[in-house]
């Protein structure tokens, strides 16, 4: 019991209480990935044309904006905040690209301006939330209207539909003849970056700490305000990038582009196992969640199911997945209990209960 530097007496701990398979499989992320694989297999065998390369190309082209924005959105939600203004930033970015190209700017110049505008939007959100201390829900409902208002105000009800063919083709192009759209390169790069940021950096640990307990994070020396500010910057700039892609892919710059996209993104993030209360969730689950929604709607549409029915199914899936957290906890608990009863009962009892003498 003594606190000493005597290494013989200090206990050593296993790193994990559960075996690897249970930590990997009995999680929300594991369940979503399993479901995704099952749905893909079902669709390949039972849905006509689903297995074709063209279907996959269009599926990925369609969900690319959601995939992209889901990355920063995951971090924002893990930190216990939310960003509802992302779709409006997509719209604003789209309008800026359109107007600038229309006035003779080259696409790269317009894109840079749009990205800077996205950063500025994120900075406004981040400043109000992190430094002024306003609730993100209220702030981003406000900026959702604000950014959308600016976007529609700049372009009115017009649409700009002529873009240099080189760029609009690039947005729809595939890598070689693999059927994988070029935009997926950008996504993979960003996904790797965000994974390193969230799961393999001190910044990411800070994001989890803030989401679980902001006060304790502050006492531990996590730069709470700076971290939150950074998250909204990331959200703004990635949304602007998605806006550029959106514009070129549909060769259409309109003020109302991507209206309502924020809810699709948030739904996918929650489906992927991120807790709306913050502190929980992992990026691979979120990516699987976005893909799952994309695969289900694509497969059902191929089967001639109307979009309303698709929405109903996705809605039910989301509710079921939120419920599954408690169901999984129960299953895992029951499994652990059965496991304990058969053997090493005393070793697994939490310390302080019945084994003080140890």
């Amino acid at each position: 019991m003594s606190i000493s530097t005597d290494t013989e007496k200090t206990p050593a701990y296993p790193d994990y209480a559960q075996p690897l398979w249970r930590r990997v499989l009995l999680t929300r992320e594991g369940a979503i990935i399993a479901l995704l694989v099952a749905v893909i297999l079902w669709a390949i065998y039972f849905v006509a044309y689903f297995g074709s390369q063209l279907t996959m190309t269009f599926l990925l082209l369609d969900i690319a904006p959601i995939l992209l924005i889901a990355l920063p959105m995951t971090l924002v939600i893990v930190s216990g905040e939310i960003d509802l203004s992302v779709a409006s930033i997509v719209g604003l970015s789209s309008v800026l690209v359109g107007v600038l190209v229309d006035h003779g700017a080259s696409v790269p110049v317009a894109a840079v301006v749009a990205l800077v505008a996205g950063l500025a939007c994120g900075a406004l959100n981040g400043f109000l939330i992190a430094y002024v201390g306003l609730p993100s829900l209220a702030v981003t409902i406000g900026t959702l209207a604000l950014f959308r208002g600016i976007a529609v105000g700049v372009l009115g009800t017009k649409a700009i539909t002529s873009f240099p063919a080189r760029w609009s083709k690039l947005a729809k192009d595939e890598i070689g003849s693999t059927g994988v759209p070029v935009v997926m390169i950008a996504f993979v790069v960003l996904a790797v970056g965000f994974t390193l940021l969230l799961h393999f950096s001190t910044f990411g640990r800070g994001v989890y700490d803030i989401g679980l307990n902001t006060e304790a994070a502050e006492f531990t020396g996590v730069p709470v305000r700076r971290t939150k500010f950074m998250l909204f910057l990331l959200s703004g700039v990635v949304s602007a990038f998605a806006g550029i892609y959106f514009t070129l892919r549909f060769t259409s710059s309109r003020g109302d582009n991507a209206t309502g996209l924020e809810l699709q993104v948030i739904a996918a993030v929650l489906l992927g196992g991120v807790s709306i209360f913050g502190g929980r969730g992992r990026l691979h689950g979120v990516i699987a969640g976005v893909l799952l929604i994309g695969v289900i709607s694509s497969a059902l549409r191929l089967q001639g199911v109307t979009i309303n029915v698709v929405n109903i199914i996705i809605g039910l899936l989301l509710v079921a997945s939120v419920m599954s957290t408690s169901v999984l906890a129960w299953v895992s608990d029951a499994a652990a209990r059965r496991h304990n009863r058969s053997d090493r009962r005393s070793e697994l009892a939490p310390p302080g209960v019945g084994n003080q003498e140890r």
Binding site: I3, T5, Y13, F200, R337, N340, G352, V353, N355, R358
Partner: protein, 505 residues
């Protein structure tokens, strides 16, 4: 109130058992509480006191054993049933509806009705007044519960229990958050209830209170009954020995340490309305105890020094370098560590794992080329958890599942891992059991011996007197005394803490 049956005890438990999964929280809990007596229930954290109380309260169902009220076997499946049978539990932090009035809280869910089933406020106010008069306290029954002190909230819970005709009142660590005067008032109320013939069970970690208030004491250890003794025929040493099942040795193992150069220097620190012109030093190898009444501003001074709170004027330096205000990161970089008072909300990220918590402050140092892996965190946190004998089955165990003493060890491990020059520790042993208490004290003494400067805030006078080389007393935001270890007595510390203050109820 029915006349007390002389033979049957008001509450009796015989060999009650309750398990949670593999964990046997209670293996053989026994308790016999007579009418018209106050019965202390003591034991280390994790000894099963709370589980036993929850079985009586109907929160948990026992798996075996007997539970008798007035000699009759009962079996509660809900808290409503136990309340109806006359059992009331007063928790450490009462849960009142803050926006409702005191009276509405007392009669929650069973409002007195007048003509036409309308709520009869006048009758409720009158009844509340009557209850408070009976308890000998003055609380306005019309005021909202919001803003009441914890002590007053407990009184309201007690009033509620009495209006429910409770015959058995269980108080689970009611004094943990109370000041001296408030504790006295609670005791007066408790004695009054005892004299009315009710049975009271009092759970506390503070032995002076047990001896001041109770008639009998039951000791529990490791989920089982150990012994019941009349308070008049026992002493602290015997109870402690029964609780831990071994000799604890000295609870305050302070060894003299070489006192070196000043590490922390605070000059003229002022924060309007909180503390005023506070100046002091903490030297290497020295433990400075900050004593004073709850709310005197001790924790606020510590928070300002660490930079969690701001201040208007004054300066903080650590080893001669000025520490910027309101910047905990700079303070940590300079070598400060701060173990806050509220473990669950400030000390730990309670829902994170042991290893994430222990590596929480040092993780930027663990990153290689900006990349931080769980492996590196486990590797760094394991030895620190081991050095403090944290009891856990794995490093990924959630800190929320641990006992208070173990959580405190995790917080200490997390800060020692930063190898600080100054350790500020606020209420180092609040809510942790005797065995761990002695361990924490031994550790503090050992750290001072290694040359660390330690600033310790404590509301437990024996702890301050037992551990500190120097005692600073704070009263109403001012430093009123600086007493060396040799000169410090309970009397002169208390005097400095209260001087010039009306000591009244």
């Amino acid at each position: 109130m029915t006349a007390a049956d002389g033979s049957a005890p008001a509450l009796e438990l015989r060999d009650v058992a309750k398990s949670f999964g593999a964990v046997r929280a209670l293996s053989a809990g026994s308790l016999r509480v007579r009418h018209g007596s106050i019965h202390a229930l003591v034991g280390e954290n994790g000894a099963g006191k709370s589980t036993l109380v929850k079985v009586v309260a109907g929160v948990h169902r026992r798996e075996s054993g007997d539970l008798l009220l007035d000699g009759e076997s009962v079996d509660f499946t809900s808290t409503a049933e136990s309340k109806a049978a006359g059992v009331a539990v007063i928790y450490q932090e009462p849960t009142l509806f803050p926006d409702l009035s005191v009276t509405e809280n007392i009669f929650m869910g069973r409002q007195l009705l007048g003509a036409g089933r309308r709520i009869d406020r006048a009758a409720m106010y009158a009844e509340a007044e009557r209850l408070f008069t009976g308890l000998g306290v003055t609380i306005d029954p019309r005021r909202p519960a919001l803003g009441l002190s914890i002590a007053d909230q407990q009184i309201i819970e007690i009033a509620k229990a009495i209006s429910l005709e409770a015959r058995v009142l269980i108080m689970d660590e009611p004094t943990a958050a109370l000041s001296g005067v408030e504790v006295e008032r609670l005791f007066t109320v408790a004695r009054r209830l005892r004299d009315e013939g009710r049975a009271l069970v009092f759970i506390s970690h503070r032995f002076d209170e047990v001896f001041a208030l109770c008639d009998e004491v039951t000791v529990m250890r490791d989920g089982a009954y150990v012994d019941t003794l009349p308070v008049a025929e026992t002493d602290v040493d015997q109870i402690v020995a029964l609780m831990v099942g071994r000799e604890v040795g000295d609870l305050f193992p302070k060894t003299p340490a070489e006192v070196g150069a000043p590490v922390l220097e605070v000059t003229g620190l002022t924060s309007a309305g909180v503390f005023h012109d506070v100046s002091f030093q903490v030297r290497a190898g020295e433990i400075v105890g900050l004593a004073g009444l709850v709310g005197a501003g001790r924790s606020e001074i510590a928070r300002a020094v660490f930079g969690v709170d701001g201040y208007q004027t004054g300066e903080v330096t650590l080893n001669g370098t000025a520490i910027p205000k309101r910047n905990p990161r700079a303070a940590i970089r300079a070598g400060m560590a701060f173990i806050p008072e509220d473990r669950r909300r400030q000390g730990l990220v309670i829902d994170a794992s042991v290893s994430r918590n222990v590596a929480g402050v040092i993780r930027s140092r663990l990153a290689r080329a900006g990349l931080l892996t769980q492996h590196a965190e486990n590797h760094a946190s394991g030895p620190w958890a081991g050095r403090l004998s944290v009891k856990t089955n794995a490093l990924d165990a959630n800190a929320a599942t641990m006992s208070g003493g173990n959580q405190q060890k995790v917080v200490i491990a997390k800060w020692l891992a930063t190898e600080p020059k100054l350790l500020i520790i606020d209420e180092p042993t609040r809510g942790i059991d005797v065995g761990t208490k002695a361990e924490v004290h031994r550790l503090l003494s050992e750290l001072a011996g290694q040359g660390m400067a330690i600033m310790m805030i404590s509301s437990e006078l024996p702890e301050v007197l037992g551990m500190a080389d120097r005692v600073l007393v704070v009263r109403e935001g001012n430093l009123t005394a600086d007493i060396t270890r040799a000169d410090a007595t309970p009397e002169n510390v208390m005097l400095a803490a209260t001087r010039g203050r009306e000591v009244s109820a």
